[in-house]
Symmetry: C2
Subunit: 80 residues, 2 copies
């Protein structure tokens, strides 16, 4: 079972890395780029457990280790 | 127009950050995690251009600035 976890900064949190890339794209003459935000993509392969159990574990993992709930949001998507 | 760009390391490239997270998850007793790979999620908002033009610009941006084609793959997904 494979799952993609998307971790993004909350909207209220400044994103200096995104701003830097935005600036660089402007300098490269991509004038119609309006905003850039950078997040993380975490691809996790899970062994032999039920989908329910996997969902439960995933939520725990995200809260305990993979994200910082104070400044980040996450969502995930089963790949297969 | 919003687009999500997913940048991942090629399969043949070692991912020490992913390995570190895999190790940490094991120590937290998530024994059925088989693999972890870390990538980047780049959310880009584009202004008023046609979809064709946007596609062309996106591919250019990815090759020139957003990814390292030697070690990374990318794909993207239109959000709206």
């Amino acid at each position: 079972m494979k799952v993609n976890i998307f971790v993004t900064l909350k909207d209220s949190i400044a994103d200096p890395q995104g701003n830097a890339i935005h600036g660089a794209l402007k300098q490269l003459d991509y004038k119609n780029v309006e905003d850039v935000r950078i997040g993380k993509l975490i691809e996790v392969v899970l062994g032999d457990i039920s989908k329910e159990e996997a969902e439960k574990q995933l939520q725990e993992m995200c809260k305990k280790l993979l994200t910082n709930p104070v400044i980040e949001n996450y969502r995930y998507e089963w790949v297969d």
